[in-house]
Symmetry: D2
């Protein structure tokens, strides 16, 4: 079993080679290597990712990422096995009757340039990102190591356990893209207890929360408007203005009437329109997202946004293509699961450090996994492991307190023993 | 034949009882009375107005106007004969071979409240409008009297003339609504020489212009947006917001790309949307117009405007009804007709007072009549009779120099003799 | 003391003569008449309404309403006493030490045309509104009678009570206009326990709620855009387009970013822009409202809306005048007051019929009164009296179950005895 | 004197090394080399370009271009002499009294990638652009060679001429940036006859036009909106949305009311807004242009556009910086100059090939030079030399018929002899 120094060393190695969503080839290769070395059954590629449900994956970036991973030491056989799809899962079948537990850890990084200053510990100590524009600025390197640690423990303690334990290493959580295709592989369909988790989130090291609050259901959309170019000084009336179509859409999307009693949010985050000053703009690209406290509110906002994109394109004689590139649902944890987490957390950090919270935490695609588990009769919740941060999530000075790794490991030992200890 | 004092008295009587487009029952009744008293053949109602092409006529206003006209002394038999459609034409058939001449005078007033101040001559002298909100503020009372004067002269001088002379008294020129249905009655289909006219237009009394400049082709549209009301404080997401749909349409209609090399104009003139502060607006009414130097430019702007109305309604889950309520075409006078007018005008006011101009004069539905005449092989132009004004057209202090009536009468005598004098 | 038949007869009389906000002259005159006949001290006009804080009052409508009230039998002396400001208050000073209680009833009607069909009981029985366009369609006639009934009881039971009881008859609740100026008269500054109430709200007769849920803070604004007219066909570039300025404002007001975790709503309810189809629109009038779960959210939305109106006017070379015409604040009832209401309600209708609710009830300017009371150290809440309705609030078939009047009277007897019974 | 083969070879060499506006270091170096080899007086850098009036010049791109030019063989001494500013002028002072003639040739390329297909002659023959993203796709390589050819002839024929001849090689005509600072050097202040020219423009080889039609006055603007980022899912109300500000500006700029009787055009050509899908957009960049038939119309549109940018920024709590990056004025050629060109053209290509035209040719900053000349009492016009094209201007397959070079040379010989031949 990996000791704490080894886990911290591994976290720093992962931090040095961050990979963005759907590009986690080196990361997956390393995780698979560890899991197999522990003697666990491992699922890879299409066995854990249903390609039909993959969102927001750019083939050309994937190809580049594969090449880079190989160059940086990924196992060529594992890469081949993955078939282009990152992520994996370890499965421990004890052979004894008992519950099926699913635990999810996410493994991707964010599109941020890590700061190069000596005051930033990863840089000063030499384990900052070597991939420009990519950084583990949300702590998923920590999550990955927690997952490996749990697997390491599971392998050595299988004889104390019953039922089945599945540990999921999910790609592309940023942009809420990876949970849906992992769920649609069917891996969660027999899970009785499901847990996701995140470190940090403004809670100090030592705190564990078994019910952290609200996740908003969300849909991420890309819209592409196609018009027609013409010379703006000579024949402006011969063009079809995609810039004005997209501007009209942006304004009216933000003007969608909101359900009064529910949290919601709308954002047209980026707009890139037109090719030159003196050309009637023939195209426009828009990235947007909607969020709602419930699945229904989110769906309402999404449908309205789509209508406004379609209608505004038509107004200006343009066409609009709309692609869904990410999604998550709302969060309704089960009291039975919360109680289990509360017990295990209390054993781990003491009663004063276990806190139910009402955070507004944006969106998490782990909610899609939980909803599937619940639809099949299972229970679950989402756990926050406090970890004092050097800077906020997604910032270029982000770093977390590595003590959280050991806390999470001990917590999961307690939780698994509670749910699937042989005595049970 | 009516003398000048009688003509001026008649003009003032018409001024006192102005009637807005499609409501000119009293006016038509009076004109018909004079024409018949001269012994001319007179066409009335559906014989000069093709109902299928009537635009912008509100039945309830027509009914009110008929009742008022009867109360104010209209001839009940004439009213009945009209069948609800105002306007008429006098026809003099000389029985001698010769050209067919058509001359058009318009008879409607504008929706303006005449000023009640002693400095305003019609008010001071007691012949200002007695119809609130209606006023002859564009000089069509003068045009009507000119037409009657020409008919009076024609009746007495028929033996000096050859061919056929048709004098048209057109309703609903304001809003460019009456010319199309009058044209579609077929009355102009055999006309060889066609003339329309207007007094004033910033030319002083004594000036005659045989080719005044540019008329823009135009279409007038009414759009009605239908959405769905809901309580804005409780369920705004259950409504369909017709106000925002119409606001979006208005902005994008004004943003239509203009053909660079042609005169054009766009105006959403009025917008009335919503029913109450705390209700999602279920409806909106918009009045708009487009104008273009050519028929094609006008058609392009109209089609774009319609697309934007339809598309914006769709964006907000609303529907939009669009009605054409007025139209005129562009103006391409014939040099043969211009030359005839130039000669007759020179005989009337001397060579120094005859001026070709390049005025930008808005739109005139007389252009629809001219275009039909030209399509059948005839020729024509439009004449401006200078008349010094007390205030600009459509203003509540508008008044014109009545000397223009005699000038126009003498001009038409000269023109008709030139074109259809028996010697010819 | 008025018996139930008399109260119902009085309610129907009030229903027949509904008066809109700031026009309740006949109603106030009647209320004052009753209060004085009971021997209570009565405050009228500027003594209960601070004119400096009056919102949304149109002087010309007030003058008309005064004349009508006199014609319909209002007491001329009372009208004079009111000095143009409707509303009144009764004050019972027991002379014994004890708490100061304030209870508020609103007296205005809404701008709705009552239906004229036999299936509508008020019409069938001959007590429907005789004022066209005005109707008691929100039950304030019932509130008024409840207030009179409470006063009638107070007068006869003064010897059983201690402290002071103030019964407020507030004008102009619709549009949330009357509470602020009544509060600013200072009448509530010594109140220890304050109660407002409403009947109906989808609760059946017999139910009483001591804490009905959320009222949103709100501000009502009128915006007037001033541009410059010009002829759209000749000189559109010489105009300043107030229609486009207002359309731009409307869109961007609806696009204000919403605080995610709070209820809020925005509505531009009406827009009236432009004077004619062919005139660049010189003016536009907009009625809007913003609502927020907290005072802060409401203030944020209001300031953003004002910025957008001002900025859009500037964009188009127009100016914008903005007037606040109504306001209410959020609702934070005190548990001490809720408990008192719960007890009195339980005595009145039994424990099964007392319900705390989480209704989303729009906005109520009673919240302004409660906030003032709380600021001075007092407590309060808002009570809903269930009353089965014939149709929803503000609909032209609205009618309520008159049994609610007696229930409310008995409830207030219990409540007042509980809070200010001499034994206390 | 360079013969035609040499001129064609030179054109192809220039074609191979195209340089975009303000980056024409290699080109200028070569031109200066030729002019000095002819023994002409040459002005360079700040002597022909007034830096204070330079528009749309990016210092970092200039630095790169200098380095590249040196690498590709530019004369280091000339580069130093230029002081960072491209363009030059040759001056022939005959010493004999006579008129001052100014002729302008532009030397920059456009931002287009030249097609790499064998069907494209420059590629097939090996003289296509070697600078990616830069291409002589508007024929300015031809213009440059024409200017050198004229200088070559001037140097050898100085003894036949009187007065002074100035040949201007203007940088940065694309984007209409270079004429103003060249004019402001004062070089044109004593010019009596001024001529600019362009090849192609859809006229076949052999045609010369002495008065080609209308150039629109224009202003090019860059606008930068600055708002404030915030997390769209957590605190959208804490951001200031620059994307919506720019969208609002774009719509309302296109909705500016147009003067009816004048050609005009408006285009927001590009918009780049926002940084990420889930971030309230903190910035937006917009490139736009306005054009008008007259300087006044252009100024009106520019001022309106600026108001709308400023106002829309204010609406959304953003700020906007606006920079003028290009300008040209309208075109009013002098009949005296047109007549001279007509004579010289007739001598060159025969009377049937000389055509006055009414092309709508967009904008040309040569108009700024002509306007200055006219302000000082000089005369001028603009000449089009027909040249059959392989593809339209600014397209990646553009190529012109090189016969035009000799035609232009012979024309200018005739013109100069006509205006400044010693006999005169």
């Amino acid at each position: 079993m990996l000791n704490n120094s080894e886990l911290i060393a591994l976290r720093r190695e992962l931090h040095k080679y961050p990979e963005t969503g759907w590009c986690e080839f080196l990361t997956t290769s390393k995780v698979v290597g560890y899991l197999r070395s522990f003697g666990l059954k491992v699922l890879v590629g299409p066995n854990v990712i249903n390609p039909k449900y993959v969102l927001g994956r750019k083939p050309e970036k994937v190809t580049e990422a594969q090449a880079r991973a190989l160059q940086e030491g990924a196992n060529p056989k594992t890469i081949e096995e993955m078939g282009g799809y990152t992520g994996c899962a370890a499965i421990l079948e004890t052979g004894r009757p008992g519950p099926v537990i699913g635990i999810r850890f996410d493994i991707d990084c964010v599109d941020v340039d890590e700061i190069k200053e000596n005051s930033h510990k990863p840089y000063f100590e030499g384990w900052a990102s070597t991939h420009q524009g990519e950084m583990h600025a949300c702590g998923h390197d920590g999550h990955t190591v927690m997952g490996i640690a749990v697997c390491s423990w599971l392998a050595e303690n299988a004889d104390k356990l019953c039922g089945t334990i599945k540990v999921l290493f999910q790609p592309a959580e940023e942009g809420v893209r990876g949970a849906r295709p992992m769920t649609e592989s069917g891996i969660l369909d027999d899970v009785d207890f499901f847990f996701g988790n995140h470190l940090g989130l403004n809670l100090p090291t030592g705190i564990i929360s078994p019910d952290p609050g609200i996740f908003l259901a969300t849909t991420k959309l890309d819209a592409h408007f196609t018009g027609k170019a013409s010379h703006a000084g000579a024949e402006p009336d011969k063009g079809k203005n995609a810039l004005l179509a997209s501007a009209t859409a942006a304004l009216s999307i933000h003007a969608i009437a909101r359900p009064v009693a529910f949290s919601s949010s709308i954002n047209v985050g980026t707009l890139r329109a037109g090719t030159g000053r003196n050309v009637v703009p023939p195209s426009a690209d828009m990235q947007l997202e909607v969020r709602g406290e419930t699945e229904e509110v989110c769906a309402y906002l999404r449908e309205e946004a789509i209508n406004r994109i379609t209608g505004s394109a038509q107004m200006y004689g343009c066409t609009a293509g709309i692609e869904k590139v990410g999604e998550a649902t709302d969060f309704k944890p089960d009291s039975e699961a919360i109680n289990l987490v509360e017990k295990a957390a209390t054993e781990t950090v003491g009663p004063d450090n276990v806190k139910k919270l009402q955070l507004a935490m944006g969106s998490e695609d782990c909610t899609i996994m939980l909803k599937r588990v619940q639809a099949k009769g299972g229970k679950g919740t989402f756990i926050v492991f406090g970890s004092t941060l050097a800077a906020g999530h997604h910032q270029n000075r982000f770093d977390f307190d590595e003590d959280v790794i050991d806390i999470a490991l001990r917590f999961y030992q307690n939780l698994i023993m509670l749910v699937a200890g042989k005595a049970n």
